[in-house]
């Protein structure tokens, strides 16, 4: 009887240990440094930071580096990587991924699910511009750290509201106030001056005396100029409304 009870218990424990080890093997990755841009210690620090932010906001933040897009466009490769690695948390696969393509020196940022609400095309453009100079200079760890901070800023702002920017708003308010003040006092100053020469004789035109006898509107020529639409820093939505991909060169 005792053996009959222990046997299923052992089987259950075995199954649990297998499941736990399988789960451990599927621990979400946060750094995928295929281009080997980071040292071991930098990778550990970044991994820990991204994991903390990801767990705090329930959106997986990933940094991936590659040497080649294997013939695909950077946008396409970013989507391919995100989908093939099954990145993102939850059913909607909420997450943000930074992809660095070293052959074409392109950066792409992809946001998916809930994270796309916080980090849309506009924010992707801002983040791209923010970290591009560090990437250009080869400070990859700093650039990835800034990327993590920016993701945290926009995700936190989306959930809890952005903090009021006193300094920035004060400067804008002072500029507006100064412009309004200057215009007002200059109008008040102009009231003091009433002596002006008259440059026209409109008040002395004989009523009904004006007659236009010749009206000629001769077409001469035309010229057309064209300007290519900018697509260097572009943000595009794909996969419905829950995903944005964008980026720039560095």
């Amino acid at each position: 009887m005792k053996r009959k009870v222990l046997a299923p218990l052992l089987i259950l424990m075995l199954c649990m240990s297998i499941w736990i080890s399988a789960s451990a093997a599927q621990t979400p990755a946060y750094v995928l440094d295929n281009a080997d841009l980071l040292s071991q210690s930098e990778e550990i620090i970044l991994e820990a930071k991204l994991e903390t932010i990801s767990n705090t906001y329930n959106a997986q933040i990933i940094v991936a580096t590659i040497n080649s897009t294997e013939g695909m466009s950077a946008d396409r490769y970013a989507e391919h990587l995100y989908d093939s690695k099954n990145f993102g948390f939850g059913a909607d696969r909420d997450g943000v991924m930074l992809l660095i393509c070293m052959d074409s020196r392109q950066l792409r940022i992809l946001s998916n699910g809930f994270a796309n609400d916080a980090i849309g095309s506009y924010e992707i453009e801002l983040i791209g511009d923010y970290i591009a100079s560090d990437l250009t200079d080869g400070y990859y760890a700093d650039a990835f750290d800034s990327f993590a901070d920016q993701c945290e800023y926009y995700l936190d702002g989306h959930i809890n509201g952005f903090p009021f920017q006193w300094g920035q708003n004060l400067v804008i308010a002072l500029i507006i106030g100064l412009v309004v003040g200057l215009v007002t006092v200059l109008v008040l100053k102009a009231q003091l001056k009433s002596v002006r020469r008259q440059h026209r004789a409109d008040a002395y035109v004989k009523h009904g005396s004006m007659q236009v006898t010749t009206r000629s509107d001769l077409y001469l020529y035309r010229n057309v100029s064209r300007v290519r639409k900018q697509n260097n820093s572009s943000g595009s939505r794909s996969g419905g409304s829950s995903r944005s991909v964008g980026g720039r060169s560095f």
Binding site: A173, K189, R197, Y204, S209, V212, S225, R226, K229
Partner: protein, 361 residues
Amino acid sequence: MPVLQEFKCPCCDGAIEFNADVQKMKCPYCDSEFEIETLQAYDAELNSQPEDHMAWDTAAGKQWQEGETDGLRIYCCNTCGGEIVADETTGATECPFCGNPVVMTGQFVGSLKPDLVIPFKHDKQAAIAALQNHYKGKVLLPKVFKDENHIKEVKGLYVPVWLFDTDADAHVRYRTTRVRHWSDSNYRYTETRHYSVTRAGGIGFENVPVDGSTKMDDALMESIEPFHIDDAVDFQTAYLSGYLADKYDVSSEESIDRANERIKRSTEDAFASTVVSYTTVTPVSSNIQLQNGRARYALYPVWILNTVWNGQNFIFAMNGQTGKVAGDLPMDKAAFSKWLFGITGAVSAAVLALSYLFWLL
């Protein structure tokens, strides 16, 4: 010695002057009112009587040195006999001894006679009240200027003016453009169509005024325009009585350029207003030809008010016909700073508060 004319009251023999309120000659002593024509006829009757001849030979007093009287005219007051020394262009003034108004009729005879005069419609009190009104609503005007301001002098002055009538034939050419924008998936396009536009025709001007006196600031005189010629009457010296008047010292030929400037500008503007539906309009050439041009000589009524503040002289002019006042006023620098910083602070605080409210929402 040139001739002076004073108009005497037929009732009390007092010096009589033109009254702007009743538009008649009115005696300030006995309040009798007379039509100008009546007084003219009465005056002519008096002048027809032969004068007494009692010649004296007195060599007392020194003679004027040569050149010393250049630009001066000496008159004798018919009432008190006082000697009136006046500028060569003075046409009407008052005797410095008895205060009676006198008109130098010799300044307005022959070719010097004005064609028209617009009589005063506003009196001295109205001019002073209008100046006080001119101060109102000027927040940067020093308060002490309003409070301590004492009007030093108020003069009713007939200003000599040349009036130009002409028909202008204009031929104006413009370069114009129409701009259109569109885009496709790769490019933004801008199309600019260029045109040569010509307008020609005629426009008439009448009574364009040009200041005929160097003593009167041209800008100040133009600032109190317009004067309405409908109220003008044929010139009679009686209208000058009680006011100051100058004869012109800028000839009509010298004034033509100023009239041309104003007529040309207005003509170009009038024809430019017929060039519509273009994105840009740039005048390329304009040819203005004036025909049937003529100039007339008129006297316009102006009240001149002088005031001194902080050692600086401020001159104001009021249109004696319409009551329009012009004259630059001093600025309170402290008030300027106070308003600038006050408005800047208030608006900045309001903008900051609004942006904070929006952030809260």
